[in-house]
């Protein structure tokens, strides 16, 4: 869907992006990860031509992005930024309706879409549609920002550290919402962040950038299990690599039949390995019962199996 070929970008003579070659597939949630100054925001902004690239090519659906009319191109991409940038003089509904109106949708369709998106982002349409941005909290503003980005059903969503300015609780809620939306709509999402945990949680694939170059591309598990070099390992938290891997897998494959005495404490079958190990450490046990959503006993898990990756 989006392809970078030998893309370069110079700022004041210094290379900000060097030799970028990347192929982004439809439907994936690609996270651009990296430290400050690694060029991840620049890469994102090159896609919708907010920043122009100096060398190489960028293709959108097979067509060079420079061949599009820039406004038409941008109307096919959603854009959400950390400071949100809602129009302070317009209501929430009017903000969300911006691109659909630019595209000439009729009033009914616009209204329906606004309500649909507000519900999707867990904002009750009735009170919120006619509120102004300054009447909303930071988290609510960002929800509206995401809704606005998605309003015209764009081909791709570009998100530049959208949750960076929010408190941890709101951030977690929004990350979950985004993950759900991605699963439900199958949209291609390009997401920039410097937060490793956020990347590991959301990404189907991660692109780790360092000083304008790709350090590694792969699924979160690939990066954790086989870091390509020291930079990658250090960035992902060398000492925690193992624990981070555990948070990417669930306990389901490791459930066994109960032998001997039934363990006292239980854990849900949807828990990750990390949660299970953490529970065991907190309760000073090495086995836990596994229950499903209804509370039915499914079996047990043992610490040794989880750590040694032994399946039932």
């Amino acid at each position: 869907m989006i392809r970078f070929e030998h893309t370069r970008k110079l700022y004041d003579g210094a290379a900000a992006i060097r030799e970028l070659n990347l192929d982004i597939q439809q439907g994936e949630l690609l996270v651009l990860l990296g430290p400050s100054g690694s060029g991840k925001s620049t890469v994102l902004k090159m896609v919708n031509r907010m920043v122009s690239h100096d060398g190489g090519h960028i293709f959108f659906n097979g067509q060079d992005i420079n061949s599009f009319n820039v406004q038409d191109l941008r109307r096919r991409m959603g854009y959400a930024i950390q400071s949100v940038g809602l129009f302070p003089h317009r209501t929430v509904a009017q903000n969300i309706a911006t691109v659909p109106k630019l595209l000439g949708w009729d009033a009914h369709r616009v209204q329906a879409r606004v309500y649909e998106l507000l519900k999707l982002l867990a904002l009750d349409p009735e009170p919120y549609a006619s509120r102004y941005p300054h009447q909303l909290s930071g988290g609510q503003q960002q929800r509206v920002g995401v809704a606005r980005a998605m309003a015209a059903d764009p081909d791709v969503l570009l998100m530049d550290e959208p949750f960076g300015a929010l408190d941890p609780v709101t951030r977690a809620a929004l990350q979950l919402t985004l993950k759900t939306i991605h699963r439900a709509t199958g949209k291609t999402i390009l997401f920039v962040t410097h937060d490793i945990d956020e990347a590991l949680l959301l990404a189907t694939r991660i692109v780790l950038l360092n000083q304008g170059r790709i350090a590694q591309v792969g699924t979160p598990l690939e990066l954790l299990q086989q870091p390509a070099n020291d930079f990658v390992a250090d960035f992902l938290g060398r000492a925690d690599l193992g624990l981070k891997q555990l948070s990417l897998r669930t306990i389901a494959p490791h459930i066994q039949a109960i032998e001997g005495t039934e363990p006292i404490h239980a854990i849900a079958h949807t828990a990750t390995l990390r949660e299970a190990i953490s529970q065991m450490a907190a309760l000073h046990v090495s086995t836990l019962c596994v229950t499903d959503a209804a509370g039915t006993l499914l079996g047990q898990v043992r610490a040794a199996d989880l750590l040694e990756n032994q399946h039932a």
Binding site: V70, Q71, R74, Y79, G85, H89, L102, H134, R148
Partner: protein, 256 residues
């Protein structure tokens, strides 16, 4: 949205100042006994050479005309700095706008006379030119006050530059722009009074005549008219700002 209880008309200072203004303008000929009592030494305590009301309307007319010119030109010039070609002229505009705060308006009035002579014309020219500066300042400040995330979002959504100007920048720049227009009009009311020294027939005439003839009563009457007119204009803008705020954007910022 709950509305505050409507204030009674009589409590409104704007109404009072306009009422006082009209009273003084039209009632001056009848106030002979009052001023005679206040200024017993003066043989002619009330300015009757020209009807005060006529002077008031001429004054208002001069201010409105020059302000219309000034606002139009300055706003267009200020908005033009947002375009590609206009951007190069932005430092020049900023310098001009800043000059409006150092330059005394009398200076332009004085310089206009050698150029075009006496009468209403130098007044009009000087008022228009000087009136442009606060409006330019207000326009530039207003445009600068639009937060850059908002501009970035607008660009990224695919709005054309003209759409961004009309739908985002202008509405958000409005409060500061209005403050500039307000300053321009109120200052022009004062300068139009001084323009009487160069032959314009405005409310400054009683003051000038009074000063040269040592008639403090004339001076007082003229000064009261000018003062009331300026206060009324300022209050009118205040009201306008409040009314527009109630109807429109909720992002209007207060001007101290």
């Amino acid at each position: 949205m709950r509305h505050a209880p409507k204030p009674s008309y009589w409590a409104n200072p704007l109404v009072w100042s306009v009422a006082a203004l009209l009273l003084l303008a039209y009632g001056l000929p009848y106030s002979q006994p009052l001023f005679a009592a206040l200024f017993p030494a003066l043989p002619r305590p009330v300015y009757l050479q020209e009807p005060m009301a006529t002077l008031m309307w001429q004054h208002t007319g001069l201010v409105l005309l020059s302000s219309a010119l000034a606002v139009t030109i300055a706003t267009l010039a200020g908005l033009a700095t947002t375009t590609e070609t206009g951007r190069a002229f932005k430092p020049l505009m900023e310098t001009l706008a800043a000059m409006g705060q150092t330059f005394p308006p009398v200076a332009i009035l004085a310089v206009a006379v050698p150029a075009v002579g006496f009468g209403e014309l130098p007044a009009l020219i000087a008022l228009s030119i000087f009136g442009m500066l606060p409006v330019l300042q207000g326009t530039l400040a207003g445009i600068a006050s639009v937060p850059s995330p908002v501009l970035d979002s607008a660009r990224a959504m695919g709005m054309r530059p003209r759409q961004i100007l009309a739908e985002v920048q202008m509405p958000l720049a409005f409060p500061l722009w209005l403050a500039g227009v307000r300053t321009s009009v109120v200052v022009n009311i004062g300068t139009a009074a001084i323009a009487s020294t160069v032959g314009a027939k405005t409310l400054g005439l009683p003051i000038i005549v009074g000063l040269s003839g040592f008639n403090t009563a004339y001076v007082l009457q003229g000064a009261m008219m000018v003062g009331l007119l300026a206060i009324a204009a300022d209050l009118a803008f205040d009201r306008l700002a409040v009314v527009l705020q109630a109807h429109g954007t909720s992002a209007v910022k207060d001007q101290a």
